[in-house]
C-alpha cells in the first residue's frame, strides 16, 4: 500500500505535460488521430479532385445510368432475361450471375480434380504419383491468363465448324459456337418440382438427424444415404408426374449458320471453366496432400485397433482431421478462383468484369461509379465466402474435439 502511494505521489510530482505525453494511451490517441486526419485528408483530396475533374470535363456522374437502356447484346444469360433494350442495371445483374455461375461450377470441379490429384500424388503407384506431380508443377507455374488463351484456342480448334456440328443426341449439338443443348421450358405448375426438390433435401436432413440420434441411443443404423437419394430425386419426379408433366424441352433447330435456339453453352464458358478448375486444382491438390500427410499415421492404426473398417476409419477419423488442416487454405483457393474468374474479359465471356467494368464502362464512360461497384461486388463475394468458410471451419474444429 505504501509503495503504491509513493508511486502515485511520484507521478503527481512529475511535470503533468510530460506524463501526459508519455502515457501510452494518450500517445496512442495522438498517433491515431494524426493518422485518421491524414487518411480523411487524403480521401477528401481524392474525392475533391475527382469532383473537380469530372465537373470540368463535363462528364456525367451518379448512378442514373443504371436505369438507362444498354443497347448492346449479350450472348450468355441463362437465368436472367436480357435484350438490347434492358438497362445497365440488368447488365450488372447478368454479369454478376455469369460470374457466380462460373465461380460455383469452377469451385466444384476444382475441388473434385484437386482431391483426385492430391490423393494420386500420394499413391504408391509410381506412374500415377509422377503424373500427379507433373500436373501440379506444370499447371501452377504457368500464368493463368496464358492457360486461358491456350484452352480457348484448344477448345475452338477441337470443335468443328458451326455447320458441321457433332450430334450428341439428347445432350444437343456441339460446334465452335458451343454446345446447343435442349432448353427446358417451364409451364405453369412447374415450380412444384422445385419445391418438391427442396422438400426432399429438408426431409433428408431431418431423417439424417433422427438416424444419428437413434444410432447414438440404440446403435442401430439407418440407410440415410439411399433414403435421401430416393427423396431428393423421387419427390421432384413425383411432382413432375402429378402436375401433369409441365416441363417440355425446346430442341435446337438447324439454321443457315448451324443450330439455333435451345440453350447455348458458349465455348468461352467451357474453356474458362476448364482453365480455372484445372489451374486451381493444382493448388488444391497440394493442400489436400499436405492435409492428409498432417494426420498422424497412428490415427489410422488406432481406429483399426478399435475395430473400424477402412471405410468408416477414413470417414470418421482421418478425413475430419485432414479437413481441419485443409479448409483454411482451401477457402483462399476458392476466393482466388472467384477473383480469377475476372480473367473472362480475355476471351469474351460476359462476366461482371467483362460486361460491366468492360462494355458498360466503355459505353457510359462512368469509370468511377462502375469500377467502385465492381470492386465492392467482388469484395462482398469474398467476404461472404470467408464468413461461410469461417463458420464451417469452426464447426469442423468442434467435431475434432
Amino acid at each position: 500500500m505504501a509503495s503504491g502511494e509513493v508511486v502515485s505521489t511520484h507521478s503527481v510530482d512529475e511535470k503533468p505535460k510530460v506524463a501526459l505525453l508519455n502515457d501510452p494511451k494518450v500517445r496512442g490517441t495522438i498517433v491515431q488521430a494524426v493518422l485518421l486526419i491524414f487518411i480523411i485528408w487524403l480521401i477528401y483530396n481524392m474525392v475533391n479532385n475527382a469532383a473537380i475533374n469530372l465537373a470540368k470535363a463535363g462528364i456525367a456522374s451518379g448512378f442514373d445510368f443504371l436505369d438507362r437502356e444498354a443497347g448492346f447484346g449479350l450472348n450468355f444469360s441463362p437465368f436472367i432475361d436480357y435484350t438490347e433494350t434492358s438497362t445497365y442495371g440488368t447488365v450488372y445483374m447478368v454479369g454478376l450471375q455469369n460470374t457466380l455461375i462460373l465461380a460455383v461450377l469452377g469451385v466444384i470441379f476444382a475441388t473434385i480434380i484437386g482431391f483426385v490429384v492430391g490423393v494420386a500424388r500420394l499413391s504408391s503407384n509410381w506412374v500415377v504419383s509422377k503424373i500427379a506431380y507433373w500436373y501440379v508443377e506444370i499447371l501452377r507455374n504457368i500464368p493463368l491468363l496464358l492457360q486461358i488463351f491456350i484452352w480457348y484456342k484448344g477448345v475452338l480448334a477441337t470443335l468443328p465448324g458451326k455447320r458441321d456440328s457433332i450430334d450428341l443426341g439428347v445432350v444437343g449439338q456441339l460446334n465452335a459456337a458451343g454446345l446447343f443443348a435442349p432448353k427446358p421450358i417451364f409451364a405453369a405448375g412447374a415450380s412444384a418440382i422445385f419445391w418438391a426438390f427442396l422438400a426432399g433435401i429438408a426431409l433428408t436432413w431431418i431423417i439424417g438427424r433422427w438416424a444419428r440420434k437413434r444410432q447414438m441411443a440404440t446403435g442401430q443404423q439407418f440407410p440415410v444415404f439411399w433414403t435421401g437419394l430416393g427423396l431428393v430425386l423421387g419427390l421432384p419426379i413425383l411432382a413432375y408426374l402429378v402436375t401433369g408433366m409441365p416441363v417440355s424441352l425446346e430442341y435446337p433447330v438447324s439454321g443457315n449458320f448451324g443450330p439455333r435456339g435451345g440453350m447455348q453453352v458458349i465455348p468461352e464458358f467451357i474453356s474458362l471453366l476448364i482453365a480455372l478448375s484445372t489451374y486451381t486444382a493444382a493448388f488444391i491438390a497440394e493442400i489436400v496432400r499436405a492435409g492428409i500427410l498432417a494426420v498422424n499415421r497412428g490415427q489410422t492404426e488406432a481406429s483399426h485397433a478399435l475395430g473400424l473398417r477402412p471405410g468408416p476409419a477414413l470417414r470418421l477419423v482421418i478425413i475430419p482431421q485432414a479437413l481441419r488442416v485443409i479448409i483454411p487454405p482451401l477457402t483462399s483457393q476458392y476466393l482466388n478462383l472467384t477473383k480469377n474468374s475476372s480473367l473472362a474479359v480475355a476471351i469474351a465471356y460476359p462476366d461482371l468484369t467483362a460486361v460491366f467494368a468492360g462494355t458498360a464502362l466503355n459505353q457510359t464512360g462512368q469509370a468511377v461509379e462502375i469500377l467502385l461497384m465492381t470492386m465492392l461486388t467482388y469484395l462482398a463475394i469474398s467476404l461472404a465466402v470467408s464468413l461461410f468458410m469461417n463458420w464451417y471451419n469452426a464447426k469442423m474444429a468442434l467435431v475434432e474435439r
Binding site: 487518411i39 504408391s124 504457368i142 469500377l371 467482388y378
Partner: protein, 466 residues
C-alpha cells in the same frame, strides 16, 4: 533352415555315422532375391502392378500418357521447323511451301525472329545494351544473394536495394529528367531546376518539423529521428540529382519497353515496394490501437478481396481522375502503384503469419529489457519473423510474377501483349501455339526454379530451428 541342417549334419558326424556329411564351415552367400522382386521387374511389381487395382491404374495412366505425349513431342520437336526466314518455311505444299500436306508442327524460326521483342519489347535497337546491362546487373546481384554461403551479404543488400534501382532506372529511362518546383507558388519563383532544389530543401525542413513535433510528443528526444530524416532526404536528393544528370543517354519512354523486361520491372518493383508497406500493414493489423488496426484491416481486406484486373483498370481509368488537375502519371507508373498496393496486402498477411509464429516470450523478453516498440521490432521480432517468412515472400513473388501478365489489359506490352501484337503482323499469319508454348516455357522455368528455391529455403530454415 540351413543352420539346423548343418547342426544335424554335425550331430551325425559326432555319433559316428559313416556317411560323410557335408559340413559347412562358412555361411553361404545369400541368394539374390528372385528376379521378380529386385531390379527393374521387382521395382515395377512393387510400384506399378501391385494388385489388380494398381495395375489397372498404371495401364490407365500409361494410356493417358500415350494419348498426350506423342502429340506434344511431335509438334514441338520431331515435326517442328527450326530454321527459315518467313512464313513460307512453315507452309505445306498446299500453302505454297515445301512441307508435305497435312503437316502440323511448331514453327520455331518465328520465335527466333521476334526473340528480341519478347525480351525487350520495342526498346530501340541502338540502346539495347542498356536493358541488357540492367539484366546482367540484376542477376549478378541476385544470385550471390540467393546463395546462403556467399560472402558480403551486407554489401550485396546495399547494392540490390540502393545502387541497382537507381542505376537501372537511369539506364532504362535514360535519366536526364527535368524537375520543376512543386511547393512554392510560381509568383515567388518561376519553375526551374533551381526552384526544385529550393522547394526540396523547404520540404525537408517541413518534414523535419513534423517529425520533431511527433517525436517530441512521444519520446522527447527528437535529435536522432531528425538526423535520420535528413539523412534519408539527402539520399533521396542524391538519387533525384543523379537522375537529372544528362549522361548522354537517349530518353526511352515506357510505351517502348516491353516483353520479359517489363515482366521483371513490374514484378521486382512491385515486390520491393510492397515489402515495407506490407510490414507496416502487418504491424498495424497487430497493433493495440483500434484506429490503426481497423484501417490496416480495411486496407488489407479490400485489396485482397478484389481481383488484380479491376485494380489495374482502376489505375488506368480511375486514378487519373483522382489526381489534382494537371498532374498525370506515366501509365506504367500507375500500374506499378496498383500492383504495389495489391501485393502489399498479400505481403502483409505473409508477414503477419511470421509475426504470429514468434513466441510471445520474445516480445515479453524485449519489453522486459526496456526496449521501446520500434527497438523491439527492429532488433528482436522482425529479424526472426522475416527470416521465417522468406519462403512466403518468394511464393508471393511467384504469384505476382505470374500476375504481371494481366497488365496486357491496360495496354502494357508484356510478353503476352507483344505476342498478340506480333501475331497481328501479316507476314506470320496464323501462328499461335508457338507463342504460348514459348512464353509458357519461360514463365515455367522462372516460377518452377523459384518454387524449388523456396522449398529448399523452407527445409533449411526448419533445420536451423531444431
Amino acid at each position: 533352415m540351413s543352420d539346423t541342417d548343418s547342426q544335424t549334419a554335425l550331430y551325425r558326424a559326432e555319433t559316428g555315422a559313416l556317411e560323410i556329411a557335408f559340413v559347412r564351415e562358412q555361411m553361404t552367400k545369400p541368394m539374390p532375391a528372385p528376379a521378380s522382386e529386385v531390379g527393374v521387374v521387382g521395382w515395377m511389381r512393387k510400384n506399378l502392378f501391385d494388385g489388380w487395382f494398381n495395375t489397372l491404374l498404371t495401364l490407365f495412366a500409361l494410356w493417358i500418357l500415350y494419348l498426350i505425349l506423342p502429340g506434344i513431342l511431335n509438334f514441338n520437336f520431331f515435326n517442328a521447323v527450326w530454321s527459315g526466314t518467313d512464313r513460307l518455311a512453315c507452309s505445306d505444299v498446299n500453302q505454297g511451301g515445301e512441307l508435305y500436306e497435312g503437316w502440323k508442327g511448331a514453327c520455331w524460326p518465328y520465335i527466333g525472329a521476334y526473340f528480341k521483342q519478347f525480351i525487350f519489347g520495342r526498346y530501340p535497337d541502338a540502346e539495347l545494351w542498356r536493358p541488357i546491362l540492367v539484366l546482367i546487373m540484376f542477376f549478378a546481384g541476385l544470385i550471390p544473394m540467393l546463395i546462403p554461403s556467399a560472402p558480403f551479404k551486407r554489401e550485396n543488400i546495399i547494392y540490390m536495394l540502393g545502387i541497382f534501382p537507381v542505376v537501372a532506372f537511369i539506364l532504362l529511362t535514360g535519366g536526364n529528367l527535368n524537375y520543376n518546383g512543386f511547393l512554392l507558388p510560381n509568383a515567388i519563383m518561376a519553375d526551374s531546376a533551381l526552384k526544385f532544389w529550393v522547394d526540396y530543401v523547404l520540404l525537408t525542413a517541413v518534414i523535419c518539423g513534423v517529425v520533431h513535433f511527433i517525436v517530441r510528443g512521444m519520446d522527447g528526444d527528437s535529435r536522432r529521428p531528425i538526423m535520420l530524416t535528413i539523412f534519408a532526404m539527402a539520399l533521396l536528393g542524391i538519387v533525384i540529382f543523379l537522375s537529372s544528370i544528362d549522361f548522354g543517354l537517349r530518353f526511352v519512354e515506357t510505351p517502348q519497353w516491353g516483353g520479359f523486361l517489363m515482366t521483371l520491372v513490374i514484378a521486382v518493383t512491385g515486390i520491393a515496394a510492397s515489402l515495407p508497406l506490407g510490414i507496416a500493414l502487418a504491424l498495424g493489423r497487430r497493433s493495440q490501437m483500434p484506429v490503426v488496426k481497423l484501417l490496416s484491416v480495411i486496407f488489407i481486406e479490400f485489396w485482397r478481396g478484389v481481383p488484380l484486373i479491376t485494380v489495374l483498370f482502376m489505375s488506368s481509368v480511375m486514378l487519373p481522375l483522382f489526381l489534382p488537375e494537371g498532374v498525370t502519371f506515366d501509365k506504367l507508373l500507375r500500374a506499378l502503384i496498383g500492383v504495389a498496393l495489391f501485393s502489399a496486402a498479400y505481403m502483409a498477411e505473409v508477414v503477419r503469419g511470421g509475426l504470429q509464429a514468434i513466441p510471445k516470450g520474445q516480445y515479453e523478453g524485449a519489453q522486459a529489457l526496456g526496449l521501446a516498440f520500434w527497438q523491439m521490432m527492429n532488433l528482436v521480432v522482425l529479424p526472426q519473423a522475416l527470416k521465417l517468412v522468406i519462403p512466403g515472400i518468394v511464393n508471393t513473388f511467384i504469384g505476382l510474377f505470374k500476375d504481371t501478365t494481366l497488365v496486357v489489359f491496360i495496354g502494357i506490352l508484356d510478353p503476352i501483349g507483344r505476342a498478340s501484337a506480333i501475331r497481328a503482323t501479316s507476314d506470320w499469319q496464323g501462328i499461335y501455339w508457338e507463342l504460348f508454348i514459348f512464353i509458357g516455357a519461360v514463365f515455367w522455368i522462372f516460377c518452377f526454379s523459384m518454387s524449388r528455391y523456396s522449398m529448399h529455403l523452407e527445409r533449411r530454415l526448419k533445420t536451423d530451428h531444431r
